[in-house]
């Protein structure tokens, strides 16, 4: 027997091991996984600065300027978003943290834009390859669910509607059609009749952007392709954003499942495609002028451990793949040993 053939079985086992592990490595790279951690009891749904977040693993999503459709963003002012998530088997909460030196709270003046951030989910359970194909914002028949937080909405919810008299303190106008009350007047109270609303067209048309009596800073939306973002009839989200020391801390939350077919349902039998975006108001970023991430796979942790679809290697569930691999190795090894023993005997 040659020296080479002596090591043949060992080399074979090694090659198989490398093949298996490198295949696993490749899978891991294509799907960097983000886990929504399980935590018993109440979740920090209203407090983006809660100490409860300190122990939650952070997934850092890099974001780049949107360049697929016009108008594009030329240069990023935000490069990454730190994302965390918790669920308690009933509700789920996400926290997005990113650096933004300027706090842009309003979209009132004609040249003023607010900071914002969004989460995006593919509503259908698509595999990683299918998800990458739909790029961002979904496609015909492939619905995405967007959770969009806006700094101006946050201000309105926290401090009351930011009106023209707040943006321009010396402003005075003594009459509006069908207004009640006294100048300088306040929205929505002094303009709440149907006749007065008719002069606030966006509001009377039911545009959620134009509602001066808003109660949440987060909008629940759908999209099925570029330019199709549409506010949902059912608004199911809670959220809150706080700016501190050059960073935005924003939480988004919802029940894990609800009865809205247009919403993402966080069930334990699947993984989730999730993406992130942020807008910097002082750079006049709005709409397509944004920084966004690629899709990431998210898994849900439950009381019992990480949930999700069974993992597969070469089309077989992981357990079966390993068993097959071991059997193959043993058979080959056995065969080789048998041959070697026979030769020795001969």
């Amino acid at each position: 027997m040659t020296r080479f053939s002596k090591y043949l079985p060992l080399m074979f086992v090694l090659a198989l091991a490398i093949a298996l592990s490198s295949n696993g490595l490749a899978l891991a790279q294509a799907q960097p996984q983000f886990i929504s951690a399980y935590q018993d009891g109440d979740l920090p749904v209203a407090d983006p600065l809660s100490a409860a977040w300190d122990s939650v693993p952070v997934y850092t999503a890099s974001v780049t300027p949107q360049s697929a459709i016009k108008p594009t963003l030329f240069q990023a002012t935000i490069s990454s978003i730190d994302v965390q998530s918790l669920n308690n088997g009933k509700d789920i909460v996400f926290r997005l943290v990113w650096t933004d030196e300027t706090q842009d709270l309003h979209a009132t003046k004609p040249d003023e834009f607010r900071d914002a951030a969004a989460l995006q989910f593919s509503v259908q359970d698509l595999d990683a390859e299918q998800t990458q194909k739909i790029l961002c914002m979904g496609a015909a028949g492939q619905l995405t669910n967007l959770w969009h937080w806006k700094a101006d909405w946050q201000y309105d919810v926290d401090e009351g509607f930011f009106d023209v008299v707040d943006a321009y303190p010396n402003f005075w106008l003594d009459h509006y059609p069908f207004v009640v009350g006294e100048p300088p007047f306040r929205l929505p109270t002094d303009f709440n009749s149907d006749s007065a609303k008719r002069y606030l067209i966006g509001w009377s048309a039911g545009n959620p952007l134009s509602d001066p009596a808003r109660v949440t800073p987060v909008e629940d939306l759908n999209a099925y392709g570029f330019g199709t973002v549409t506010s949902q009839a059912n608004q199911d989200l809670l959220g809150r954003g706080v700016w501190q020391d050059g960073k935005w801390y924003v939480v988004f939350s919802r029940s894990l499942t609800d009865n809205d077919a247009a919403d993402i349902q966080f069930t334990t039998d699947r993984s989730f495609s999730i993406a992130f975006a942020a807008w910097d108001g002082s750079d006049q970023q709005v709409g397509a002028r944004k920084q966004l991430s690629t899709w990431t796979t998210m898994l849900l942790e439950t009381k019992e451990g990480i949930a999700g679809p069974a993992k597969k290697i070469l089309g077989l569930p992981i357990g079966a793949a390993i068993a097959v691999g071991v059997v193959v190795v043993l058979v080959i090894l056995g065969g080789v040993l048998l041959v070697m023993r026979r030769r020795k005997a001969a």
């Binding site: 108008p71 030329f74 509006y176 002069y199 067209i201 509001w203 134009s210 330019g227 973002v229």
Partner: protein, 375 residues
């Protein structure tokens, strides 16, 4: 990028969408020579459409004094500067339109006016172009001049506002070519406000979405002219359907002025929007300024206009301006009168080409009073 034909620049040009034309196109002619800048149009429009909270700075119609006036501040000079040199060869524009000059990642060249730019609607009002030297006297054109420019949305055939909205929230109506913003779909991105060269999309500071001139469509639908037209003190305006030259209907007043006599010209045709509001240029203004603003048709337009007394048809249409609140579909001039007809062919207006002259005695014997024009 698709190519579309823009007759106002005499050539094809790039536009983000394929050409699609409405059944009819809303249009108007404004005779600059007759405007007195009373702003009645501006207030009629404001009362009708922009008297709400959040619309304080909005004028769908404004009248500014040229050369120094502009609302928002510098809307035209800033874009002209961005566009660089603009040259014509014969009737063909050889420079770039706002679509052809669009920076990478943009639908059109443009800028978003700053907050303060909306704060001075009467900036430059009644200011003349230069100083008047001792001993100066008037010649035609005037050595020192100014004129009023009346501005509404042009309801363009190739709107830049529509082209740049990533949400397709802006649409051009099939029935009349009026360009509108869907108030339920607009999300206040202001891409339209950035791209409209005329800055006729305005952001509502309360509803946080954009709004624009609606061409008084509820009136147009009833066969009436717009508020700015019917309220005009100087009777400088007329509304009508306007067609491309190959489809011109020459007994329709706007087509007659634009294509028949060619006295009414597009505003900044070089921007490339194929606008639908036309201007009779002021005859007293030096041609360099007018050529830049209204294109190469200026000398012919002024020449034709000056000879109006020998042109009863042209005179007739000019006199029909402001004579009725009804939409004039067709006109006719015969036996010293100009007639306007509606879509059914019914007469809606009749004006004499020459005002009858009455001579009265300067002394009223019954009252024993002298009748003078001066006190």
């Amino acid at each position: 990028m698709p190519k579309v034909y823009n007759w106002q620049i005499g050539r094809e040009m790039d536009y983000p969408y394929e050409a699609a034309y409405p059944e009819k196109q809303f249009g108007a002619v404004f005779d600059i020579n007759k405007c007195i800048a009373c702003q009645t149009c501006t207030l009629a429009c404001k009362n009708a459409w922009t008297s709400g909270r959040g619309q304080e700075h909005m004028f769908f119609n404004n009248v500014e004094t040229k050369p120094y006036g502009s609302y928002p501040l510098g809307w035209d000079v800033r874009l002209l500067e961005q566009l660089g040199g603009q040259s014509w060869s014969g009737g063909v524009y050889t420079g770039k339109t706002v679509f052809e000059a669009a920076p990478a990642g943009r639908a059109a060249l443009g800028f978003l006016p700053e907050d303060e730019d909306w704060a001075h609607p009467n900036h430059g009002e009644d200011e003349v172009a230069g100083t008047i030297d001792t001993g100066a006297y008037f010649t035609l054109p005037h050595p020192v001049w100014m004129f009023y420019l009346q501005r509404i949305c042009n309801h363009c055939s190739y709107p830049a506002c529509l082209a740049s909205c990533p949400r397709k929230a802006i649409y051009k109506r099939e029935e009349d070519g009026i360009v509108l913003i869907d108030q339920t779909r607009c999300r206040g991105y202001r891409e339209c406000a950035r791209s409209c060269p005329f800055k006729k999309v305005l952001y509502n500071t309360v509803t946080r979405v954009s709004e624009k001139c609606i061409a008084c469509y509820p009136l147009v639908e009833q066969g009436r002219q717009t508020y700015c037209t019917l309220s005009c003190i100087g009777r400088i305006r007329i509304n009508g359907w306007v067609n491309f030259p190959d489809k011109a209907v020459l007994d329709s007043p706007v087509d007659f002025l634009v294509h028949g006599r060619k006295v009414a010209l597009p505003l900044y045709p070089q921007f490339g929007l194929n606008v639908n509001i036309y201007y009779i240029p002021p005859i007293h203004v030096p041609s360099e300024f007018l050529l830049q603003m209204f294109g190469p048709g200026v000398p012919n337009a002024i020449d034709t206009y000056k000879r109006v007394k020998d042109d009863p048809e042209l005179l007739g249409v000019l006199l029909l301006m402001g004579s009725t609140d009804k939409w004039i579909e067709k006109f006719r001039v015969k036996e010293g009168f100009a007639y306007g007809y509606d879509a059914k062919g019914d007469e809606v207006s009749r004006v004499p080409l020459k005002e009858p002259i009455y001579i009265r005695p300067d002394f009223n014997a019954a009252t024993g009073a002298f009748l003078h024009n001066t006190p």
